[in-house]
Symmetry: C2
DNA sequence: GTGAAAGCGCTAACAC
DNA sequence: GTGTTAGCGCTTTCAC
């Protein structure tokens, strides 16, 4: 706790608190000499402003919230870096909240933001989030919100996404071009915006490759490794097993590799695989993994930049913003 | 911004602000009926306390800071989850700061904590941090600090670490037991506590295996992928190249695999490899990677638990706390 | 069991 | 260019 306050500085300098405050904020009203005196003493005494007194008075916190499902995923780790890089430059602080894919938790977290704790919010919604009422409430309370990656289509505010449909489409077409006739799609929560888009891209890819819908298979995976392993194993044990797989999120890659190993199936010989992932280690997997790699850092950065515009510029129409940053299909050995 | 204040509630109920405040905080002085009335109206009007007014008055922020070098590493991602899990239960908020391995940045971040922005700090120091003066200052200002993973030995406060010496020793002994005669150790910043311990464990392991110091080789790696790749390539091109490698941090794994592939060297045939990493994908690498896996989640959790004890319990001697949680050597194919 | 009053540290209006 | 005053919204004496 810094025990030195503006009053202390004022007393020592024979000035009023108001003048010191103005000098510290470099107000145009204050003479250069005074500013220097104040700055010098503040430095000497190790004065650090109390952020909460300032927040209370000015009604802004210089803080943003980042609401994420998890941080285990490499996508979100990279996104945090992008966000932090711009928050730091802006002199903002970053509060982090994890929903653990729970809608209830997400609601509770957002609810308390109406208190003015943060000046803006970056959010990637949970798997369970199918409607955005809780987010609309926060926006109605006057707090700018920017979605990134996992959005709510029914909430009108800025959205930073990647081209999920196109990525999935490209992945599917790549597999069929390699000769796949029967492609399984490993999905997560079907309510998620990214799931919907990716699934659509997959289906369109199949259609455009003249693969009948009967030859498609969508497996709804869970958060539990063992359960996913088992589902994938069941899938690959069937007599008409797929010859191609698209793993729609990072965490579904390991179980596929393991099942193939355990079932003695060769990738890409028996089964070709493409995963959505940002893991650097994709290229040292056995075999090197063909990936859809998302612009995670840039998405985080871009979301933060837009959020700050929304916070700082009064006549910036945050609500209409929509940025799509392309993902990349990186061909390696698995497909 | 919640526009409903305690005064509003008080006015509506014909009570004083003081009574409402006490009722909301469930003070023993207040009658049950009053409490219920207040709770009911607060709920109805959507009252949310202004956290900064409360922080200003009570001189506590219900917020902790987590200061990390990066969040790209799987270790720190998992640690954040551990930290968040306990902060959530305690009703605390988590501010995150990245130093990007810069000492200057770390100093600046810590400096402003003297303002009372946070009630406690969890920190894993940067590569460049060789002395802890900036941390001592914060502690002197009365703010509890807990180190986790990367510590400053010269700062007397709680430290949560893993058994770096033993892990490295075990890794080295495992390699020599497999027949390695010449083991290289890929290091990062030699000033870092974890680097020092791991290097010592490596050297002791060599000594106990009767391998002369002349057959050891410590390569100081950097933050740049290309540079590391080149250094490792140079290392493995030498005629007396090592037959074993210990990668002391996660990010050094990919370049080793790539160099081996490019030089047509077989792992583990020509070179055995053990890496410090928490990546789930270790077991689907080519070949599956033998790892030292750290208890990242538990370290984060444990650090947070101890920090909160330091914050909440006055007669808890935070400074003397020291917890070591063991890492695990997981034998797979690479060594 | 409740109220009045003071004040946390800072800043914005309004003076001069 | 600087000072005075009045709060921001909450909590905490100290009364009764």
């Amino acid at each position: 706790m810094s025990v030195v306050t503006i009053k202390d500085l004022a007393k020592r300098l024979g000035l009023s608190a108001a003048t010191v405050s103005r000098a510290l904020r470099d107000s145009y009203e204050i003479s250069t000499e005074t500013k220097q005196m104040v700055a010098k003493l503040a430095e000497e005494l190790g004065y650090i402003p109390n952020p909460y007194a300032s927040s209370l008075r000015r009604r802004k916190s210089k803080t943003i919230a980042v609401v994420l499902p998890e941080v285990a995923d490499s996508f979100f780790s990279l996104a945090i870096n992008g966000i932090e890089s711009v928050a730091k430059d802006k002199g903002y602080h970053v509060l982090i909240y994890l929903t653990h894919e729970s809608f209830e938790r997400e609601k509770a977290i957002l609810h308390q933001f109406k208190s003015g704790r943060v000046d803006g919010i970056l959010i990637s919604v949970s798997e369970e989030t199918s409607s955005g009422g809780h987010i609309k409430e926060v926006i109605a309370a006057g707090i700018p919100v920017v979605f990134f990656d996992r959005i709510c289509e029914d909430v009108e505010t800025a959205k930073i996404i990647t081209d999920d449909f196109e990525s999935s489409y490209k992945a599917t077409r790549h597999l069929t071009a390699q000769g796949c006739k029967r492609i399984a799609y490993l999905s997560i929560s079907p309510a998620l915006s990214i799931s919907i888009k990716r699934t659509e891209g997959y289906q369109q890819g199949l259609a455009d490759s003249n693969i009948p819908a009967t030859e498609s298979e969508i497996i709804l995976c869970e958060n539990d490794f063992e359960a996913n392993y088992q589902m994938i194993k069941d899938l690959l044990k069937k007599k008409n097993r797929p010859d191609g797989i698209i793993a729609s999120v990072e965490k579904l890659t390991p179980p596929v590799y393991l099942v193939c190993r355990d079932l003695n199936l060769s990738i890409p010989g028996d089964i070709k695989l493409i995963s959505f992932t940002n893991l650097q280690s994709a290229l040292i997997l056995d075999p090197p993994l063909t990936t859809i790699t998302q612009p995670a850092f840039d998405m985080g950065k871009s979301a933060a930049v837009i959020l700050f515009k929304g916070i700082e510029k009064k006549n910036f129409d945050l609500l209409k913003q929509r940025v799509t940053i392309s993902s990349e299909l990186i061909k390696r050995v698995s497909a």
